[in-house]
Symmetry: C2
């Protein structure tokens, strides 16, 4: 009976208000409140202890007061939410019991009461780092898999270009493409990231887009015969340059457009006529549509991780105090690899 | 033997030089030269008498000195070329004999020596107007068919929007969509065209884009629940407005972008992020890839024409002297329906 009253202090990351332009650390506040650590009698909720939180570019759209989008906006004054890895500490839901490890939508706080536990995935494989379930074994991993294989329709030996290539999704797409014997080039925003692409992830070529006066020329240098698949993460000028360099019947899976997320007015894209001349298929996708493929994806990727055939780089920020800085760092490219926040070591 | 020396005067439409901005009548010259009306001994060419010529928006790209595109530029100082209907008057090719009616690439002149007759289609059905082989029974017809059925992947009852809807391709796409029980709305550039869409072609709704202050609002008025298929003929601002109004998993077959063809710098398209949120497939296509489907298309469309289930409106300019005006009229929307040039009544 004592357990029913158990409370703890709960550090939380709060969005102060909706954000225009580039988000700043001061748009967030880290504060501490109290939380009840057990679920109410008869409730089907669970209470979890958060271990890792995922910083994802799509979260920028939730910092706007934009209803009707595919994800609802954050609530100013409340802790933000996102994907994370957590341990169940109390459960009123038949699918979950105390001690279970899960990943899915949780709060940016030490403990969360989750009222829709049906949306959580139970973690069955713990011989790999738990943080991987925020990335390669979670939403970004499935994003890379669905976007490349399902939307990109790759064929052996094709020419593949990936922007934001060292990020959580890009690094995986590049390696999936290499496993398909494609010629793979990535762009990123620093020498360190370019080195990572070439030396760690096995890309055939990579360039720092900030060093290129002319993106069209950079692409022509890397792809003298053109691009079959452009895995689109950034939008804007890069997309315009890529459109000039696509091969006949090329495909552009559109995963994100991070270069545009903080602009009051987005850059215009001018070269869409190339869609006609080159018969290009450009297709946007959201990972949510592909969750039914998750078990199949795990079956594919877990052995590749265990055998060292896929490399995976994370950038782990330590502690909720550092979470706002980690999150906003995505938009200046501060992170090297998948950005994660470590909330608690067990 | 006398026939081997037969010559005739040959009126021709010449492009003076490559064109910047909107083409003008003075960019063309109509002049008369001589032509030999029989093919040389041993040649596999044919000589044809041109009856109808087709004015098509894609021809604008051939007025630029732009090599490497999907069609080569016109040669200044020479007659321009395009699709037309013609009668064979001499043939060195085993597939064609004197008297055959054909459609395909020919010159803008009274008589043409065609050195690649393999590319011509023989006209087998003459119970329909011959001019139709420049449109509904030719390249624009197959364009509408392939773009709507193959690229658009329509389902019964879907919501379809067509820009430049009274043109050669648009009027057919709209009627194909009605045959598929879709809800069909078209945009066009005059009251007369809007009336045609609603009263002749059976569109459910239509609007004059020039009368709309806000295209987004016009689309929301016509499609309160959004658009499943946007058949894209114009690009630019219309595309940007449509992107804000697409339904989940919508499709945008990209057939043309006529609003952009005469601009020195194209308008930027700003709302491509909607491709992601709505999981839209946007796909460019060229009719050339679908020519193998032409017999199948004829089998479908000929009965529809004969039974009056498809209406077809042409705007026929009389004589090669009026051909330049007819061609450039496409870009100001002067034509009502498919623009054709009548070269000769037989």
């Amino acid at each position: 009976m004592a357990e029913r009253l158990e409370e703890a202090s709960n550090k939380q990351v709060i969005l102060r208000d909706y954000v225009n332009g580039f988000p700043k650390e001061s748009d967030f506040e880290v504060r501490t409140s109290k939380v009840r650590l057990n679920v109410a009698e008869g409730s089907k909720s669970v209470v979890v202890k958060n271990l890792y939180l995922s910083c994802d570019p799509y979260m920028r759209s939730r910092m706007r007061n934009l209803t009707g989008s595919y994800v609802p906006p954050f609530t100013p004054g409340s802790p933000i939410t996102g994907n994370g890895v957590a341990r169940v500490i109390d459960s009123g839901h038949p699918n979950f019991k105390k001690g279970d490890l899960v990943w899915g939508l949780t709060g940016w706080e030490e403990y969360s009461l989750l009222t829709e536990p049906e949306t959580l995935f139970k973690i069955e494989h713990t011989d790999v780092p738990l943080s991987y379930y925020t990335g390669i074994l979670g939403m970004p991993g499935l994003t890379a898999y669905a976007g490349f294989y399902e939307v990109g329709s790759p064929k052996e030996g094709e020419y593949v270009f990936i922007s934001a290539a060292s990020g959580a999704v890009g690094q995986l797409v590049g390696q999936f493409a290499k496993l398909k014997n494609c010629y793979v080039v990535g762009s990123a925003g620093s020498k360190e990231k370019v080195d990572l692409l070439k030396n760690k992830f096995g890309f055939d070529e990579a360039f720092n887009y900030k060093d290129e006066q002319d993106l069209d020329k950079a692409l022509k240098r890397c792809f003298p015969d053109g691009i079959d698949i452009y895995f689109e993460n950034v939008g804007g000028k890069m997309l315009d340059a890529v459109l000039l360099n696509m091969k006949l019947h090329g495909r552009i899976p559109v995963c994100g457009m991070i270069s545009q997320y903080n602009l009051e007015e987005t850059e215009g894209v001018h070269n869409l006529f190339c869609l006609i001349t080159q018969r290009i298929r450009m297709e946007g996708f959201l990972v949510f549509d592909y969750y039914p493929m998750y078990p199949k994806y795990l079956d594919m990727v877990l052995p590749l991780i265990r055998e060292g055939k896929i490399k995976y780089v994370e950038d782990i920020a330590d502690g909720l105090e550092n979470a706002p800085k980690a999150l906003i760092g995505l938009f200046s490219g501060r992170n090297i690899g998948k950005q994660v926040v470590l909330v608690a070591r067990e």
